[in-house]
């Protein structure tokens, strides 16, 4: 390898334009593989996060929430909204057979008017029974939420200790959630007492669309897990048949559309990665072929000077690995520098749950993308290396071949 390196390094340094072109090609290849992989992974991670966020087999909301599409948009798109059913109706649902775990949530949306610090979705939950939000909150906040304490989503411009005002009520930011890649990132979470106080205040200010509700006897959503021996479908069907003015929705049904869209986007991106890889490999193959053809006489001289066929091949392969190695690291690094700061813009553009992998995973993807680009360079050079081993030095030096 020492022999190959010394000749190769001189070749690389001695032909800067050719080296630059090969480095740029592998950089492009590496950047495309890295960015594509991160996008696909982020989409899958976002979907898993969304599934975890839903966290229940069945969700039950007022029927009007589904006819206006507001509930699905609220969960999947992060749009703000609120709707209510009385606790008596909720109890009818909970009295049905097959109900296992259950918890209630109360929604309220703030506005950007002077009453509120931020236009956000507020989700009130019962810490005693909750099994969907608490696991997320526990990652950032170990304590208990007091009256007028809130936990803010990761994308909100509010930080622990900040005071926010919603409908004239001042609340304190007790914690900030980790990034989830879902509509949780733009929501505010609090306990039942606080959200009911906020609803009362919104009604007093005349800013609530629901004029006649009793905040203490209203809930927005029931989250239900099926008891053993029952399926989510059976429970949803039973509720939809026997309880009026509500709609039971299976979580799986809700995310199936997202899942399909995500599969479509992921397949497209994966296809693009494969196409770029193949195209890049073909271009590299042509570049190496042209480059090696130009140097046939030099390889013949090496052969005359004592190089075996395998040594000639190792010179070609060594050069390809070094050049594509440099290009691939540059490409993956630049890909990371460009992609990571714009992940929010990509998320908005795609309109699907999007959660970047961890820093460790991203570092691994950089290495993997670099390895894939080096592999492409090596495969492209392998054909040239093989041709070099077949070279007839005598004929090449005579100029007959």
């Amino acid at each position: 390898m020492k022999l190959s390196r010394s000749i190769t390094l001189n070749n690389i340094k001695g032909r800067p334009v050719r080296t630059l072109v090969l480095v740029l090609l592998t950089a492009l290849l590496s950047a495309a593989v890295f960015c594509g992989t991160v996008i696909v992974t982020s989409l899958h991670k976002g979907l898993r996060s969304l599934e975890a966020r839903l966290g229940a087999d069945v969700m039950v909301v007022p029927y009007s929430a589904t006819t206006q599409q507001s509930f699905e948009d609220l969960v999947l798109q992060g749009t703000t909204g609120y709707f209510y059913m009385d606790t008596a109706t909720a109890q009818k649902v909970l009295d049905r057979e097959g109900i296992g775990e259950s918890s209630q949530q109360v929604f309220l949306a703030t506005t950007s008017s002077g009453c509120c610090s931020l236009p956000v979705q507020i989700i009130g939950f019962d810490p005693e029974t909750d099994f969907t939000i608490s696991p997320w909150i526990k990652k950032s906040f170990g304590g208990e939420l007091g009256f007028c304490d809130v936990v803010v989503g990761n994308d909100l411009n509010a930080f622990v200790g900040d005071k926010l005002k919603f409908y004239g009520v001042e609340v304190r930011v007790a914690a900030k959630l980790e990034k989830t890649g879902t509509s949780y990132d733009t929501a505010v979470f609090t306990n039942f007492d606080t959200v009911r106080e906020l609803i009362r205040s919104s009604m007093e200010l005349g800013l609530n669309n629901f004029k006649d509700i009793d905040p203490d006897r209203s809930v927005s959503c029931l989250l239900i897990n099926a008891a053993d021996g029952y399926t989510a479908e059976e429970i949803a069907d039973d509720i939809n048949i026997h309880v009026k003015k509500v709609k039971a929705i299976r979580a799986q049904d809700m995310i199936s559309g997202v899942s399909k869209s995500l599969s479509g986007v992921a397949d497209t991106v994966s296809g693009l990665i494969a196409a770029v890889w193949v195209l890049g490999t073909v271009i590299l193959l042509l570049a190496f072929t042209i480059s090696i053809n130009e140097r046939r006489r030099e390889f013949a001289v090496m052969r005359v000077s004592g190089a075996s066929r395998m040594k000639l091949a190792s010179v070609v392969m060594c050069e390809a690995v070094i050049v594509s190695g440099i290009g691939s690291v540059i490409g993956a690094g630049l890909g990371a520098l460009v992609l990571l700061p714009f992940s929010r813009a990509i998320e908005n553009m795609i309109g699907l749950p999007f959660l970047l992998p961890s820093a460790g995973a991203i570092a691994l993807y950089i290495l993997a993308a670099a390895a894939v680009a080096v592999l492409a360079g090596a495969i492209a050079a392998a054909a040239s290396a093989f041709r070099v081993t077949r070279l007839d030095a005598g004929l090449v030096l005579r100029g007959d071949n």
């Binding site: 013949a300 090496m302 066929r309 395998m310 007839d392 030095a393 100029g399």
Partner: protein
């Protein structure tokens, strides 16, 4: 301890007429003795370079054998034959043979680099000095004239003090003064124990030869 060619024959097929086989070298037997300068002459296309390429292990003969110390060199594996060529043979091919990305010193050291040896830079500088290009050791090939490149190629072939030297038109780009210098040098190398085969069109070369061979249509003409 000689290099011996036995009934060497090399056939090619003319591409324009695939059925037309012709023998570039047709049944040549010869021995290259240590301490001798053998000059081979002949018209273009008479098979001189083909014969030399077969003698130095670069071109597999259609039939016949090349024996070194009694062993057929074409029975060796490619890596062993390459090692043998790098260590015991010095080949000066036709035309320019510089590696463009290496300077003159690195070009001359190439056989050592290929054999994973450091190479003796002082020896290289001495060789270049003897050939009249000592001041060009650090120059790049693109900065050299044809004659200077030719002498660099000669220095490379002699770098490892080989036992067998094959020179194909070594003075093609040289003026009379440098032609004499190169022939003197090759003669001196032979006197030091090497066997030198020179292919040339220079009539003056016969003055330096211990043996003069003439090739005609792939055969030795007495």
């Amino acid at each position: 301890m000689a290099l011996e060619a036995l009934d060497l024959r090399k056939e090619f097929i003319r591409e324009s007429r695939s059925s037309n086989r012709f023998a570039a070298v047709d049944g040549i037997s010869l021995t290259l003795e240590k301490g001798e300068v053998t000059v081979m002459m002949g018209r273009s296309g008479s098979g001189k370079t083909t014969l030399m390429n077969m003698l130095c292990g670069l071109l597999v003969p259609s039939s016949g054998s090349v024996k070194l110390d009694g062993d057929d060199i074409y029975a060796l594996s490619d890596s062993r034959l390459s090692r043998l060529r790098g260590s015991r043979m010095g080949v000066i091919p036709q035309g320019q043979t510089a590696l463009g990305s290496l300077n003159v010193l690195q070009n001359v050291l190439l056989p050592c680099t290929l054999c994973r040896e450091d190479g003796d830079e002082e020896h290289v500088r001495e060789l270049l000095g003897r050939l009249g290009i000592g001041e060009l050791a650090e120059a790049m090939p693109a900065e050299l004239s044809g004659g200077e490149l030719r002498r660099m190629s000669i220095a490379r072939a002699l770098m490892r003090s080989p036992e067998y030297i094959f020179a194909d038109e070594p003075t093609a780009d040289l003026d009379d003064e440098n032609t004499a210098l190169v022939f003197d040098f090759l003669k001196e190398t032979a006197r030091a124990g090497a066997s030198v085969l020179i292919i040339t069109h220079e009539n003056d070369a016969s003055a330096y030869s211990d043996r003069l061979l003439t090739l005609k249509s792939g055969r030795l003409a007495e």
